[in-house]
């Protein structure tokens, strides 16, 4: 997809959100409503300017190289696995999820040195455990791994 077209779609999307924001801001009465209304209207104007600029450059440059498909796939893969990692934390615990997430993502992205792939995340998790659980005493979600080992 050409870059100006992506920008045009985004600008219109932002414009739509500004309208929704303004509608929401009309519910705020008195001084609480001044800034929300002013900001959403100003942002709507800016998004229209952006949309106009994108439409004009769409006319000028019809062909432009888009992002490499390979790089898009890697971005999507990394973002997707990060979201899955956060979903997993409440169920299997932070450290267990981390121990799975890092080697899984690194190997999918092409890292092949097995010793480092398994060793580095282990050292990293131990360091985080010492820092967050033992030193800072942060109450993290229940650990599946520690339950299996019988520590918790």
């Amino acid at each position: 997809m050409p870059r100006p077209l992506i920008e045009l779609v985004c600008a219109l999307l932002v414009g739509g959100l500004c309208i929704a924001g303004f509608v929401e801001a009309t519910n705020y009465t008195g001084p609480s409503g001044y800034l929300p209304k002013a900001v959403t209207v100003f942002a709507l104007l800016l998004s229209l300017i952006w949309a106009l600029q994108s439409a004009l450059s769409l006319q000028k440059r019809k062909k432009e190289a888009s992002q490499e498909p390979m790089s898009l796939a890697r971005t999507a893969l990394f973002m997707g696995s990060s979201l899955a990692y956060v979903v997993a934390i409440p169920f299997i615990g932070y450290f267990t999820a981390t121990l799975v997430f890092i080697p899984a993502v690194a190997s999918t992205l092409g890292y092949r040195k097995l010793r480092i792939l398994l060793g580095a995340p282990l050292v990293f998790v131990i360091a985080l455990y010492i820092l967050f659980s033992l030193v800072l005493q942060v109450q993290l979600p229940e650990e599946l791994l520690l339950q299996l080992v019988g520590i918790r």
């Binding site: 992506i6 992205l109 995340p121 990293f124 800072l136 942060v138 993290l140």
Partner: protein
């Protein structure tokens, strides 16, 4: 005299064991973060702020000072060895640093870079110590109307100057203003943009936004671009002897340039470095050697980008107006520790604020020592696989944000801002104006309401003081100058067409 008394009172505090350890750790972490291409001081500080929650304010700020100074020098390591600036401020170091490394003079280039960075940082810290207190004293005379215009000036400058397209910069500011409004309005008790969610009632924590916008996009970039696969320049083990005397005028000129540019909002270390390199080349009779491996071509940009560091904090600490993304993150760190930046900070917590300014000076010296003895280790950092580092950054950001309020909601919010920040970067929308607006938006709104309360609702009060008029003129200049420049650029091309 007052400044000297405050410095003497803060000195014993910064030489406590905890602060010294924090400064050493921060500097080492900063150099490491800066040496990793794609990671910046802003990202390093944003990720590590949650770790400092339980620390005493000065211990936390000592660590922040170390990261900031260290990262600025660290950026020169990959610039010299890989031809990739580790941080945006390292861009001009590439011009002569990489050719030096190709000639087998990498240790010499790193030595020049380290000495110049340490001198730049030290000069900048002295400028901060000398200029910030008088400026804070002046700022105490500001009324609510002046503060309103000042906040507006901060937001406009960053939005207009940081983006090639002012509409995009201002849109980013609007995003920050909306984020800053989320929650219960402190003056009226009304809920704004909470959409019935209990989690949003207390507003959006600035650290959540900072971590999302500044830590997640670089992590995605590391995962996608595989930066560490670049070819390293050969490192000759024998070190060349160097005469430092010819560097003294370079350091004096570049430090002054760095400090001045640091004080001006939105310019930053990269502008300082490029201008200093250019000026050095212009003024040197042997200017044809620049770009081919001239050591002074490494000294000038490194000294200037480090001289920018503490100077950037002058408007941030004294007026509460951060002039750059990293200054905004440091203000976030101050807020986390219950310290409100602005002139009152100098009156209410002088030990902390003078202590922080002193840590900027001490970490400049520490940077030289750590950089000198740990040079080999920091060079090895370049070999760290980015495909492993990227998920580690995500893990660190997640646990850091979770530890603020033990809330998974905030972790999701951080990821949302991360994806939003990544999208904004792809679309060339700067993220720094959004963060600045989160800090300055509530300040502007509160000042405006207070001004209207004092004046009984009359808007005339907003333009009654001469300070307000000066700031209004500065806002007008910020908006008009880029427009005028654009028009001037258009004129010759029209003439050419005719």
């Amino acid at each position: 005299m007052d400044i000297l008394n405050h410095i003497m009172a803060a000195l014993p505090l910064i030489f406590s064991l905890e602060v010294i350890i924090a400064m050493i750790l921060g500097t080492a972490v900063g150099i490491t973060v800066g040496a990793l291409p794609g990671l910046s001081a802003t990202m390093g500080i944003a990720v590590l702020i949650p770790l400092t929650f339980t620390m005493e304010p000065l211990v936390a700020l000592g660590m922040v000072a170390g990261i900031y100074n260290g990262a600025m020098y660290g950026g020169s390591i990959p610039a010299i060895l890989l031809r990739i600036p580790g941080t945006p401020a390292g861009i001009a170091t590439v011009f002569d640093g990489y050719p030096m490394a190709q000639k087998g003079q990498a240790p010499l280039a790193l030595k020049v870079s380290l000495a110049s960075s340490a001198i730049g940082s030290a000069v900048s810290a002295v400028a901060l110590l000398l200029l910030a207190p008088p400026l804070a004293a002046i700022a105490l005379k500001f009324g609510p109307a002046d503060y309103f215009w000042l906040a507006l000036f901060g937001m406009t400058t960053i939005a207009v100057l940081l983006s090639n397209n002012p509409a995009k910069g201002l849109l980013s500011t609007c995003l920050g203003l909306v984020v800053g409004m989320v929650g219960i309005d402190a003056m009226t008790g009304a809920e704004r943009f909470t959409f019935g969610s209990m989690d949003l009632l207390s507003g959006i924590n600035i650290i959540v936004l900072l971590t999302g916008l500044f830590a997640i996009p670089p992590a995605i970039d590391l995962a996608v671009k595989r930066l560490s696969e670049q070819k390293e320049a050969p490192i000759d083990k024998k070190e060349d002897r160097i005469r430092w005397k010819p560097f003294i005028p370079v350091w004096i000129k570049s430090s002054i340039m760095g400090v001045v540019i640091g004080i001006i909002p939105a310019l930053g270390g990269n502008v300082a470095a490029v201008l200093a390199w250019n000026e050095q080349r212009r003024s040197d009779p042997d200017n044809d050697q620049y770009g081919k491996g001239e050591p002074k071509g490494v000294a000038a940009p490194e000294c200037a980008n480090n001289a920018d560091t503490a100077a950037t904090l002058i408007p941030a600490l004294t007026l509460g107006i951060p002039g750059s993304a990293v200054a905004a993150v440091i203000l976030g760190a101050l807020l986390v520790h219950g310290l409100r930046p602005g002139p009152q900070l100098f009156r209410d917590d002088p030990e902390i604020v003078f202590g922080f300014m002193l840590t900027m000076f001490v970490t400049a010296i520490l940077m030289f020592v750590i950089g000198r003895f740990g040079a080999r280790a920091f060079v090895h950092v370049l070999k760290a696989p980015t495909t492993l580092l990227a998920p580690m950054i995500i893990c660190l950001a997640v646990v850091g944000i979770y530890s603020i309020h033990n809330s998974m909601f905030e972790v999701w919010l951080m990821l949302f801002f991360g994806l939003l920040g990544y999208g904004m970067e792809r679309l060339d929308i700067p993220t720094a104006p959004a963060v600045l607006a989160v800090i300055l938006g509530p300040m502007a709104e509160e000042s405006l309401r207070r001004a209207l309360l004092i004046s009984g609702g009359s808007f005339d009060y907003l333009v009654k003081s001469w300070i307000s008029w000066i700031i209004i003129a500065m806002i007008a200049m910020t908006l008009i100058v880029p427009l005028w420049k654009r028009l001037r650029r258009l004129q010759p091309s029209r003439g050419d067409q005719e």
